[in-house]
Amino acid sequence: MSLADLGWAILFLPLISFVITVFLTRSRPKLCGYVTIAAIGLAFLASLVVLVRVVAEPVGTAAENQASYNWVNIPGLTESLTLSLGVAIDPLAAFMLVVVTGVSLLVQIYSQGYMAGDPGYSRYYAFMSLFTASMLGLVLANNLIMVYFFWELVGLCSYLLIGFWFQKPAAAAAAKKAFIVTRLGDLGFLVAILWLVFNVDPAGPNGLNIAFLNEKTTLDLIAGAGLTWAALGIFAGAVGKSAQFPLHVWLPDAMEGPTPVSALIHAATMVAAGVYLVARMFPLFEAAPDAMVVVAFVGGFTAIFAASMGLVMHDVKRVMAYSTVSQLGYMMMALGVGGLVAGIFHLFNHAFFKALLFLGSGSMIHGTGTQDMREMGGLRRAMPVTFITVLIASLSLSGIPPFSGFWSKDEILADTLGGHGNVLLFALGLAAAFMTAFYMFRMMFVAFGGSFRGPATAQGGHTSGHTSGHAIHLDQSHSAHAVGAHESPRVMTVPLIVLAILAVLTGFLNVNGWFGGLLEEGYVVHFNYGVMASSVVVALAGIFLAYAVYGAKWISAESLGRAFGPAHKWLTNKYYLDHLYEGVITRGAVIGICAVLSWFDHTFVDGIVNGVARLVMAISGGVRKAETGRVQAYALVIFAGVLVIMGLWMLGLPNSVSGWVAKP
């Protein structure tokens, strides 16, 4: 099989399992799970084959390994248009395929435990299959139309899975919010596509082919202000999908979905799609340096901005969510300063350790029946496997060597000091690294340290929210099964262990420049030991501060909060951006304008119509009285009419009327 054929197979496997779970096995939930796992497992194996082949015989560009089918075809000598669906495989796509199928496979296995007994079990696996297929389609796409196609479909799956427990009002609201906020960004992406269609030869089959767009000859042709706007349009889509400021607000709310969903979609894969897209179009972005600056600063700002909110959240999943936003900002910043390898390497490492963190927090939620870290405590004894694996992930995220996050974060920081970098960006990155280490170990000390603080009689509160339709506060109907917390079943802990091993190892892939060499021709890895030292010191400082406040309790968290009173308030209220977006802009401005227009429509547009009708009725009522039956009166009216027409004629009016209508 050619690489492209393998690509199609990888795309279709989860699509087939989606169809099977919807139409054939819906009534047998367990089977739905097995079918999905089997399909994604096969896709994972195929992805490994693709990766091995790409590594063994470097293919260079995407141009050589693609296969397209016409999707929309408007033939003709002029104004013809061909939009195609096609796949292309290059090292970047190959790595991404392995990430998507690998994490998805582990998440599906884990979900068997996490979602056990849920009434929507079959639906869950159907949506997960559809998501995996859509995400793979996005990764494999060889042209921008197909990227957009699957870009929207992953958005749909995100919507469906955030709102999976649709009976929870918060979940339904979060799902809607996620879709609409990301769609704002998608509008930019769409407009960029429109611009590209007409500025790159639309007639040829290469129309929006990514490899073609990225060629130097193409880019030279379209360089200029237009290209900068197009790049910014594409970036707008990435800002929405990858939850960058100012469109980041949907991601923390998306935590209303089941935790494995958060791990797969809102940590490892879909939210990284924005980063992936920018990386895919990297030559195009490089041809628009002004856009690159925007990418770098939006990323850098998002990194520290989101990290600051992560400092004060109590919900473990929300901490992770802000952490994800922040790390995605890191990746964007890397791309913005020209660090393609650093950005993608971080994406790669982050996918594993962040998925691990989410699945780990899912295990914590599963074991304690709460998402609030203040109600946890002492989990290191009750949940040893979860503890060790989450610890590894936290160390990795904090950037402690030799865990994977250290290597890629370091490369990013080093790149911010490089040719296209900026000391300010380096400072933002370093500050964010400090905050990251602090909030992660705040969670570690609060949740795993001390002793269990959860409700002793948690079992009594066991709820079955799905069936009774009552609102439930928890992520799931999970509650503590016995007094205190308990470790999760093996089906959940084994994926944790696998991911933990990856979180230790994947960082070494680029120590000798192997990873980067595949992505970028002539890539040489270089270590900046000064940057390394400073980032490790900063991370250790963050961990130490967390220990001082939450571990040893030398400093009381309350007094710390009081000391930073106003700042603390801003942070817990998420900088009031939700108030601004939802209260002022949406409910105030948008709905207000719509309501005014609706009133206008009813009162004036329809009012005039009805008014005219009433006027006609009134006039006919009056005119009716003229119908007297006296012939003399009629003759008089006819005579008057003739006089009027003759008068008009003599004034020359008919000519001017026909003169008006004759020629445009």
Partner: protein, 490 residues
Amino acid sequence: MPYLTIITFLPLVGAIAIALLLKRDDARGIKWVAAGFSLVTFLLSLVLVFLFKTNDPMLQAQFVERANWISVGQFKVEYFLGVDGLSLPMVILTTLLGFLAVLISWKISLRPKEYFSLLLVLETGVLGVFTSLDFFLFFLFWEVELVPMFLLIGIWGSGRREYSAMKFLIYTIVGSAFMLAGILWLYFASSPNTFDMIALGQGSVKEGANLIFLLLFIGFAIKLPMVPFHTWLPDAHSDAPTAVSVMLAGVLLKMGGYGIIRICVTILPDAAKYFAPALLILAVIGVLYGAAVTMVQKDLKRLIAYSSVSHMGYVLLGVAALTKIGLVGAVLQMFTHGTITGLLFMVVGLIYDRTHTRQIPELTGGLAQRMPVIAAVFTVAGLASLGLPALSGFVAELLVFIGVYEKYQLAAILGASGIVLTAGYILWMLQRVFFGEFNPKWSDLTDAVTVERVAVFTMVVVIVLVGVAPAVVLNMVNTAVPTIMARLGS
């Protein structure tokens, strides 16, 4: 074989059969006869798709049937039927929705004999509009459709049904009056003097082209409906029975778009170019204004009606750009809007049958838990409406945007921004009606029954099919556009 005559008049034959042969109280028999006739009509129209030649773009019309009908001196009216790539998709849409409208009316108990007869007469009227190639015949069919619509809304409607029926009738007749004036003027102003729409589409108009264009356009714009002539639509929809809403949104509005393309643009291309910028502005206003007004509607049917105003704005937008891709997009948008909005109205009907309300604040309360199938179908239709890829709306809107962007970038961007508003009102509606905490007052509700499932699943299949493989419609549409573009001189 006179396919088009058979297809056009088969529903009418069914109507006559029901009226003459069946007993008033034989509701079962009436329904089956209506379903049978409309199903055969649909299947026959599918046969046309397979016989339709897509490889010869110079072919003006296919399945032509032609005979002298009225001949007074020079004044000659023909019985002249034929379809091309523009009208055939509309014919399919009409026969499909005609059949499903019967299925979705299965629970009608008030005077079923009259109801189903009128429904079938309506179908013949609309089919006649799409198959006529004689302008006079076209106008006759255009008027024929009014009578059953008026009666169906006025008798089987709800709420202020008489007001709404009358408003629909008067509004459309005012439009028809302008149109008739335009038709007659066109007859005398054109060379040759003829009602033959193909000949008109090749000939030229001596004088007054702009005024003729306006007269005809007003008739079509009211039907489309174009802002500001749209206020009859929400009233008609909110008081019409379900099947009539389906036909109204699904195919009757398309008569407006069809007329604009077939007549205004093809016969009067210079006038079309002259007015295009104005139409473009009105279209953008329609898209955004319609979407904004939709956002705050509380009645589900009014909500979908206003969303139709917005989505039909895309049709006008695609046409007004006068580009090939825009035209193709507009025709595809007519087809997909027919299926999507038809489905939306069907599902609203199913909800109304069960809850006896269409007010969103009253419905609020997790209906999805009692009617998962209805909720799922409504979600699919809603997603199609907001232009989700793999469903039919996306392709059509994308083509409209591309086609408009070619000439008018700002209009395309403004039009495209409608997709954000659409996502807003669709998802907000779904959230309020189906999701959230369960309201115990809906405990006794039931999900869709078999006949309803057949109807809605058929629509879902069509929506997915066109979304995944748009070629099934595009191959037809592609054959019609070169002729029109040639008229426009490009």
